[in-house]
């Protein structure tokens, strides 16, 4: 079994923050924590945390190029503990390697953004926020790497000690769903409530009222699938996995010559005839002129919300929300269908 290991500049021994801009390097054999894995580490890759964050494409291209040449059976990244930048690099590299057929495992604190970056492609072993949990983190990664390296698959998250990857894998069961439904219901009536699907996250708390409308910066966000006519970015009409941003700079109204809706979940005849009724730009412009609020944020954020998973919708909300906060937006008109 051939193992490759990724470490940041600090754990690879190149230096601390002053070396965070260091480009990607490749070293033969195990380095630093890699010696504690108990695995045949053939090669170690490293990169400065800042460099990875600021030049992600270049860093990934270099690292993945080496991985393609070295052809390891498994890639181990980290552990990154609570370090967000290091964790992000570990999660992203592990994801891209796994996408290319090299199974990968990493380790970090469950809140680390690197967990999201791994997108379920890589196994992520949960760790303590600080290096105090180094020994357990290395042992946890090594156990999974040993399996992955020989083409095996770890068991469930609970059994194998990794964070659930939001992957739902189909398994054959002897007892049919219909019979299980009756069993489950009788148990629930008897006071024992069990479920095969964990309930998703809780509802969203309503925000407080907008404190001062006269200075409010308002953004338009929609799940109606409203896009420039011709759908230049090919927004899908259902099961969307992304959102799009279009400038409203100099746009006074959404007329049907310039805009359409590609939503696959309702009859779009009226929306296409008068796009302002699905995204009320005309009314917001009039209100802006009258001084009813401060200003309109000069972008429209759009997706088509039909058959879209809650996980994706939550991600859209987080990503769009982060951008709006950055821009100082204080209120949003969100149109749904």
């Amino acid at each position: 079994m051939k193992v490759a290991h990724y470490l940041n500049q600090f754990f690879a021994g190149f230096g601390a923050e002053e070396q965070a801009s260091m480009g990607a390097v490749r070293v033969e054999g195990a380095v630093g924590p890699g010696r504690g894995l108990g695995l045949p580490v053939a090669v170690t890759y490293s990169c400065g945390d800042d460099y990875f964050g600021e030049a992600e494409d270049a860093a990934l291209a270099q690292l993945l190029g080496w991985i393609a040449k070295d052809r390891p059976d498994v890639l181990v990244c980290g552990p990154a503990f609570g370090s967000g930048r290091y964790g992000y690099a570990c999660g992203s590299l592990a994801r891209e390697a796994a996408r290319r057929g090299v199974p990968a495992v990493t380790a970090m604190e469950p809140d680390n953004p690197g967990v999201v970056a791994a997108e379920g492609w890589a196994y992520v072993v949960p760790t303590t926020p600080t290096v105090i949990g180094m020994r357990q983190a290395l042992a946890g990664m090594a156990a999974i790497a040993r399996l992955l390296g020989i083409g095996g698959e770890p068991g469930s998250p609970e059994e194998a000690g990794y964070l659930p990857r939001s992957i739902r894998r189909n398994v054959r069961v002897d007892r049919l769903g219909a019979d299980r439904a009756v069993d489950l219901l009788l148990a629930k009536i008897a006071g024992d409530t069990l479920t095969e699907i964990a309930p998703p996250i809780a509802a969203v708390e309503p925000p407080p009222p907008v404190p001062n409308m006269t200075s409010a910066l308002i953004a338009l966000v929609t799940e109606s699938g409203c896009v420039p006519r011709g759908n230049p970015d090919h927004l899908t009409s259902r099961r969307s996995s992304r959102w799009l941003r279009y400038t409203l700079d100099g746009v006074a109204t959404l007329d049907s010559r310039g805009y359409e809706t590609v939503h696959g979940g309702f009859d779009t005849t009226f929306a296409n005839g008068e796009p302002n009724r699905i995204v009320p730009l005309d009314a917001l412009r009039a209100s802006e002129r009258n001084g009813n609020y401060g200003a309109l944020h000069p972008f429209l954020y759009t997706t088509s919300g039909v058959d879209t998973s809650v996980a994706n919708a939550v991600r859209f909300g987080q990503e769009i929300g982060a951008e709006l906060l950055d821009a100082g937006v204080t209120a949003v008109v969100l149109t749904g269908t």
């Binding site: 739902r168 219909a178 219901l185 629930k188 479920t195 095969e196 699907i197 979940g265």
Partner: protein
């Protein structure tokens, strides 16, 4: 709900072959394929119709599948009331059922939701996803009927498929069955918990309808139906979208959930009734009305628990969740059967705390090359049917249907 029992006389099919006339001899069914083909051409006026016979486990992929029907016969020849005869009551008396054989219709229809392939693999990795890899199949291929108005061609194909199923089963008239299953509903069940079923069906127009006693059921109110009627041809699928998550007519005829409840009736529970609801409703008020209406009927049946089923995904899952909420608020405990996706659930209410997973519709099944393709050579997206893959569970007919009759669930990984 008591009354006479439904008796299902089971005839086990050992082999099927083609011959000059249709008949049954010691488990061996002979089918006049050419005569059947001529009859289908005449009845449907679709000249391209072809009939194929497949063996269990043959390396065959069936494409553009519309429906699957279990061959059944009723004395008097009205196995599908309202469609093959008057809308008389179903679920009583004796029905002959051929076990181990299916009638499968295929066609490429216009207007229907053509985005997702609708296939059955009789061998290879997809074979495990379907009961029909183990059956003999009489496949009626109507070909490309995209140019024909769906409102004319769809009923013709549906009726022809049902009639074929009945014609095959009529071969066992006056013959002693291998066994008889009896479904009765005793009134006296002591203090056993009453359990209801809410069966949501597709109701969106031609190609997306469900027929109940011959008419498309589209509400506007929920209705009660005898569970034995569901098992006995009263409910017929005319909905052809989302192959994996939709029930076929077969799924209703052999609905394991109702069989399971009927088997346990009088032992561990009392089957209080089945309520049909129309799902995929267009507006919030209609959805709420259907959900609360269904809950009212369940409460009136005296049930303290209910199993909620659905079809498809997205919109219909909102209907299912609203139904769960309405039932729980009326103090009826619930479980709901749900097909999962890679992205989690489309909708959820906190009251849905006991969910059954029938599997993840997005999971991919390895690519496979059949020796023969029945139906279109290409999938709706243009890929060659003989080499396309990997394909998701969603493309395999009934593999993750939410009546819970397939041996799958999904687990975290």
């Amino acid at each position: 709900m008591s009354g006479p029992a439904l008796e299902r006389a089971i005839f086990q099919v050992a082999s099927v072959d083609s011959g000059p006339s249709t008949g049954w001899r010691n488990g061996r069914l002979t089918i006049d394929i050419r005569g059947l083909q001529d009859e289908l051409r005449r009845a449907t006026r679709i000249p391209s119709v072809e009939v194929d016979l497949t063996q269990p486990g043959e390396p065959v992929r069936i494409v553009d599948v519309l429906d699957v029907v279990a061959p059944v016969d009723k004395p008097g020849g009205n196995a599908f009331p309202g469609l093959l005869g008057p809308a008389e009551s179903a679920g009583r008396g004796r029905t002959a059922l051929l076990d181990g054989i299916a009638v499968i219709s295929t066609a490429r229809l216009g207007d229907a939701d053509a985005g997702v392939p609708s296939i059955i693999d009789l061998a290879g990795p997809g074979a495990a996803l379907t009961p029909w890899s183990n059956t003999w199949n009489v496949v009626l291929s109507f070909g490309d009927v995209l140019d024909a108005p769906i409102g004319e061609v769809e009923p013709a194909i549906r009726l022809a498929s049902l009639r074929t199923a009945q014609t095959l089963a009529a071969a066992v008239r006056k013959i002693v069955p291998d066994r008889v299953e009896s479904f009765s509903i005793a009134d006296e069940t002591g203090g056993l918990p009453g359990i209801g079923v809410v069966l949501a069906v597709a109701a969106e127009g031609p190609g997306l309808d469900t027929f109940v006693f011959g008419r498309p059921f589209n509400g506007p109110e929920p209705m009660e139906i005898d569970p034995r009627g569901v098992l006995d041809g009263a409910v017929v699928s005319g909905a052809y979208n989302e192959a994996g998550t939709r029930p076929t007519t077969w799924s209703y005829q052999r609905m394991r959930l109702l069989e399971s409840l009927l088997e346990r009736h009088g032992k561990t529970l009392r089957l209080a009734g089945v309520v049909l609801t129309a799902a995929y409703l267009d507006d919030a008020a209609a959805k709420e009305r259907m959900a609360t209406g269904a809950a009212d009927l369940v409460v009136r049946s005296g049930a303290t628990g209910a199993i909620v089923t659905t079809f498809g995904g997205g919109n219909s899952h909102t209907d299912a969740m609203l139904t769960v909420r309405a039932l729980e608020r009326a103090n009826v405990r619930t479980t709901v059967l749900i097909a999962e996706t890679n992205g989690g659930l489309t909708d959820h209410v906190p009251e849905a705390d006991a969910m059954i997973s029938v599997g993840n519709e997005d999971e991919l099944v390895d690519a496979w090359r059949p020796d023969r393709v029945i139906g279109s050579a290409r999938l709706p997206d243009g890929r060659r049917a003989a080499s396309a893959g990997p394909l998701p569970f969603l493309a395999y007919v009934g593999s993750v249907n939410q009546l819970g009759d397939r041996p799958f669930r999904s687990v975290s990984a």
